[in-house]
Subunit: 404 residues, 2 copies
């Protein structure tokens, strides 16, 4: 007998109401400022979050496992209850989903960087001088026009942003265990496409053909005259939120990447206005049509990566006024957390735990405000991200008892 | 290679003395009272437990995994160090063990409800008007007398309590992946016995025969004229406490269910007086004959399920005077905890963590009293129930070092 996966096996089906809102402040967790000893979240003036914390269960969430720094994909898969070690996915597939590409099970996806090569074919700029979106779209269009797909293979090419392009090959039985062609170094040529297992030999041959054609087509360009491929991935198809949790789920996210990972787990996805009040407007509009809402705010992570402590504090503060508006809708459970830490002093994603606030009628409150210090001694303890969905479902009355 | 199971692999064999007492207050964990902000345990006057807490290691135990509400079976398996996701067992097998039935590996067990059907065979009362124990025993005796077991199959039927009856089929290779016949609804007939995998097809056919005969035999009864079957389970046989931990173990529990799960892991089981002082009298009497003692007190859970906050407080208080008597015997380790939370405000088992007190010469004391708040920041941290036995064994000096 295969092991029972909890909580899937315990999900109550056909539950009406009892809605769950998951508000993700990307990169929320921080490190103390050297002067004050307070993290970004602890420095931020967040009266609404603090009032909510007083009647919520708090905890510290380890995104994947101790010491592991997750990218956005694994970080969000974990938040959604999909152990990212089990549900492994490459950046290529995530990017394809992020640009709204209709990725199907078996598709082989990769992320391409538009790059600048010198006359000997050595890499001069791994990002092709960061072309404008117009310029990026122009060269992708040019490639599309001239590329001749290998026999029996469909090739899709889509511009993502600046130097980033998504490449998808569709054909039966494409292995995806392939090494990046991006050497992540200058002054050397791109690496050949190399299969890392026998099943991926044919994919390597097909990609060698396709990438070779792209190089030829771009050969007469001044700046963007080459491509580097990374993150090869075959998308296997995941059991979705409806199937696993009985939840009709909506993703309300400003950036393609996050809409992509939400689509991966079967959430409906909306293009929304880029400002913060827009998030809640969309939530209000669709509140009766779904059971689960994933709201994603990007800015705390961006400011953290900039090393901008004050900017990250302000990005967190700007979310605080949304809280009463969300509560006004009366969700059964509101979770506020991040997908990982991005401490401004560290200027990058990190492995540090992330504060969690879970508001529910069945909370065990312990803290006076929302911050790393209070969350550390919260009732939820320190737990791995993959358990968050079980906690949210339990507090929403959507899980039955395990065993008699 | 199969994984090493810790702590089994590290158990010191032939250790004399160094006794462990596990005192389980069923449903111990609670939620704060809206007026006081204190849980049931925090409200209770427990001078002996508090004094003990001051010199014990404290912790918060997650019964199975975050968000999961365990039934009594999985909750206790976890306390005994058997991961309940791995050692899955149905209510039928637990009930069979609970009534003292000599369940053997391969037996197929189910729990039957004596029920009332109308003339069209539709369910009128799923509990047959809650018959008296005498009445329940009478109809079970009547069925026993007339039932003709299918060829090559032994059929055992035993009354449990009120409307509850245990049914066991003994024959080679009986699959137990079967859907309940209890539709958990009124005005509809019982469901047919349905196999959920090919291996269980024969079991379904045998059960259809047996349940059909029972219906016929009870057909002329006024109230108890039908049965509903739930929790089909084949008991696979578990490695016992002696084998896994080198412990001669005794269960001292008032209710059949808890004696059943204790017998499942190879504990000796005694029928005991129903009053609390009786628990300790039995413990005193047998203290020299065993290494491990499981004492089970049911009342905190019962009062929690009643929604009776004060009643649960009193049930906890009534256990407090037993503590000095237990300590008097000089166990190496005394653990006081619950198998899950049953908050009175929630009126049901819940997923919330359970306070743990572990008294030992090697404790790291942190708290001033025994309660959720002090346990949350205790030295044992927040841990899953399946680790409790390793902690108890370690503090009792019964585990050797892992590796050189």
């Amino acid at each position: 007998m295969s092991p029972v996966r909890l909580p899937d096996a315990l999900v109550e089906r056909g539950v009406e109401g009892k809605k769950i809102v998951l508000l993700v402040l990307d990169g929320l967790g921080g490190l103390p400022h050297p002067d004050s000893g307070l993290t970004e979240l602890e420095t931020a003036r967040t009266p609404h979050l603090d009032a909510l914390a007083k009647r919520s269960s708090l905890g510290s969430m380890i995104p994947v496992s101790p010491g592991i720094t997750p990218g956005s994909g694994p970080g969000h898969l974990s938040l959604f209850g999909y152990d990212p070690v089990e549900y492994l996915i490459g950046r290529g597939a995530l990017s394809a989903l992020g640009v709204g590409f209709d990725l199907r099970a078996g598709d082989l996806a990769a992320r391409l960087n538009l790059a600048t090569l010198d006359q000997e074919g050595r890499i001069v700029d791994r990002r092709g001088g960061r072309p404008s979106d117009d310029e990026g779209q122009r060269v992708v269009e040019k490639v599309r026009k001239h590329l001749r797909p290998p026999e029996g293979v469909e090739v899709f090419l889509q511009h993502e942003k600046e130097h980033r392009v998504v490449l998808v090959l569709r054909a039966p039985d494409l292995g995806a265990h392939l090494a990046d062609t991006d050497p992540q170094a200058l002054g050397v040529p791109p690496l050949p496409v190399k299969a890392l297992d026998p099943k991926s030999e044919r994919s390597a041959a097909l990609l060698t053909d396709v990438l070779g054609q792209i190089m030829t087509i771009l050969g007469d360009e001044a700046r963007v005259n080459g491509v580097l491929a990374r993150g090869f991935a075959a998308y296997e198809g995941y059991p979705g939120f409806q199937e696993r949790y009985g939840l009709r789920a909506l993703a309300i996210a400003q950036y393609p990447m996050y809409r992509g990972v939400a689509r991966l787990v079967g959430m409906d996805v909306l293009d929304i206005p880029a400002d913060l009040p827009g998030l809640v407007t969309v939530l209000e509009k669709h509140f009766h049509d779904y059971d689960f809402f994933f709201l994603h705010v990007k800015y705390p992570d961006s400011r953290g990566e900039d090393g901008d402590f004050t900017g990250k504090v302000k990005a967190i503060e700007s979310v605080d006024p949304l809280i009463p508006q969300i509560l006004e809708l009366g969700p059964e459970v509101l979770v506020v957390t991040g997908d990982h830490s991005t401490p401004a002093t560290f200027r990058a994603h990190s492995w540090h735990s992330v504060p969690v606030l879970l508001a529910s009628s069945w909370a065990r409150p312990t803290g006076a405000r929302f911050g790393e210090t209070e969350c550390r001694t919260g009732d939820l303890g320190t737990f791995e991200g993959k358990h968050l969905m079980a906690l949210a479902l339990a507090h929403a009355g959507r899980l039955s008892k395990f065993g008699a």
